[in-house]
């Protein structure tokens, strides 16, 4: 146990504390110098309001889409798939692995200017010029992220669905509960832990993502695209740190709000 916690403290707790301290420091004459100032937080908040709005809207849309599709997929696998169930559980497990960058790149070849979709549209004569408006857009970012994150949503939801016994649903049906009633009063409340962790994973990974907007987003920037340059050509690490903490705090707020909202979903 000791080595594990040693790794945890040295490479997670210590860097995190240092990073927090760093967010109050300043850059003077191209050198990072200790200070105690909230200037970075001021900049991190006021300069990037539209970026936060876009980032959190995309994250919310992606997370909700993944949760809904995850419930459908897991529900069919658990209750309807029969002999296909083993294969259908295997597919999200396998696609969980297999290259984060490659997955995003694959969508670039599908959605890009010279991509498959544009090629098909032109050949069908639906458009003369390659479309950029639809493809290099928040929509393209969202669909790519849904693709990448869907397995992360399916697996925890399916795991919690496995604890629901067929007999509970049969009993509810025999007592006259409609399919919707069975879904809303039995399946959703029993899957709450799975749904909440699916939402958290999808939400947080979207908020922190900066690769997808670069590859398929065109001119779209999310907060990650504003944080990374602070550690590169802009060289303002303290500001980057402050932006990271603002983003983390807002994310935690969203995630807590979602799990509280899910608690309100109770059987009638």
């Amino acid at each position: 146990m000791l080595p594990a916690f040693a790794v945890f403290v040295v490479f997670f707790v210590a860097p995190f504390i240092y990073f927090f301290v760093l967010s109050f420091w300043r850059v003077k004459l191209y050198k990072i110098s200790p200070d105690f100032s909230f200037v970075n937080y001021g900049k991190a908040i006021e300069r990037y309001v539209p970026i936060y709005q876009l980032t959190f809207s995309v994250a919310f849309a992606v997370a909700i889409t993944c949760v809904v599709l995850g419930i459908i997929y897991a529900g069919v696998v658990r209750f309807k798939a029969g002999r296909w169930a083993t294969l259908l559980t295997f597919i999200p497990l396998m696609t969980l692995f297999g290259g984060y960058l490659v997955k995003i790149y694959a969508w670039k070849t599908i959605l890009g200017i010279n991509g498959i979709l544009n090629g098909a549209l032109i050949r069908l004569g639906l458009t003369g010029e390659p479309l950029t408006a639809l493809f290099y857009s928040p929509f393209a970012v969202a669909i790519t992220l849904v693709y990448f994150l869907l397995p992360f949503a399916i697996l925890p939801i399916y795991a919690s669905m496995r604890s629901i016994e067929d007999i509970e649903l049969d009993a509810a049906r025999d007592l006259g509960a409609s399919p919707w009633r069975r879904f809303s009063d039995i399946i959703v409340p029993r899957c709450r832990p799975g749904i909440v962790s699916a939402f958290i994973i999808c939400f947080l990974l979207t908020v922190g993502d900066y690769v997808t907007p670069i590859l398929v987003g065109g001119k779209i920037s999310m907060i990650g695209n504003m944080i990374t340059p602070q550690f590169g050509q802009k060289f303002d690490w303290p500001l980057g740190a402050a932006m990271s903490f603002v983003t983390l705090t807002l994310s935690v707020g969203f995630v807590v709000a979602f799990s509280l909202a899910m608690r309100l979903w109770r059987p009638r």
């Binding site: 080595p3 997670f12 860097p15 497990l93 696609t95 692995f97 297999g98 790149y105 397995p151 922190g208």
Partner: protein
């Protein structure tokens, strides 16, 4: 009895399956086609992009770095993670769960935040960035998986055989090596392969903590950003194969079911 809602749901799941595996198939198929634009029609079957990949000046270095990092991460996180899982298995369920969720915290962080905080930390300590910093950083998010999987296996482990061995005079080490280890070995190997697959896959944390040099994902990143050549599809196929194969073997070994 098939009702319309059921049929709609089934079609939807079929579409989702296609959505999940389609892009993987595209990348693989395009790597074998001579079409330089990665679009349909496919063109002739050709190994030109695979040859270009093998001729890429930095491909072998990147492959070697990826394998060194992944193998080290797999081994170290297996050893440390198993040690931790064994001590958790001896605790009360409640306490073990709390400690495990603490260890899992790094997995809950957006990788970008983890990456930039590690970068500033190494920089402040004056640690030069190299493969070691990458390996240490990867341990953070691979070790929790090993702990989770191995702890789950130990939860159903019958410790009576170990106790008998101890009663018969075996030292704790001998009892571990001759009894516990052989019995949980498939789980440990499986967990370590999951760690390997996660490490091979990682781009963001590697990118910020490697300094100079490349791994396969950072090489792919460079290629995507500069010249868009379909040999990216070939490297992509290699990456998909390595991580999916190790994950496949891992899941068989750990008998992990979702």
């Amino acid at each position: 009895m098939i009702n319309p809602i059921d049929s709609i749901l089934r079609v939807l799941v079929a579409v989702l399956v296609l959505f999940l595996i389609g892009p993987f198939l595209l990348v693989t198929v395009f790597s074998f086609s001579d079409n330089p634009l990665s679009t349909f029609p496919l063109g002739e079957i050709s190994l030109v992009w695979w040859r270009e990949m093998l001729a890429h000046p930095r491909f072998y270095d990147a492959l070697a770095n990826s394998l060194i990092i992944a193998a080290s991460v797999g081994t170290i996180s297996a050893i440390i993670g198993t040690m931790a899982a064994i001590s958790f298995a001896k605790m009360s369920n409640r306490r073990a769960t709390t400690l495990i969720s603490i260890l899992c915290l790094p997995m809950m962080m957006p990788p970008l935040v983890l990456a930039v905080s590690l970068l500033s930390y190494y920089n402040a300590l004056g640690v030069p960035l190299n493969l070691f910093t990458v390996i240490a950083s990867h341990l953070l998010f691979t070790m929790p998986f090993v702990v989770l999987v191995t702890y789950a296996r130990l939860a159903t482990f019958d410790f009576t055989a170990v106790e008998s061995a101890r009663d018969l005079g075996a030292t704790p080490l001998v009892a571990f090596v001759t009894i516990t280890l052989p019995m949980i070995r498939p789980t440990i190997i499986g967990a370590s392969l999951i760690a390997t697959a996660l490490s091979i896959d990682d781009f963001i944390i590697t990118f910020f903590t490697i300094g100079q040099g490349n791994t396969l994902p950072t090489l792919v990143w460079g290629m995507i950003r500069t010249q868009l050549t379909p040999s990216v599809n070939a490297i992509g196929t290699v990456l998909i194969m390595i991580s999916i194969c190790s994950a496949f073997v891992a899941l068989r070994l750990t008998k992990y079911r979702a």
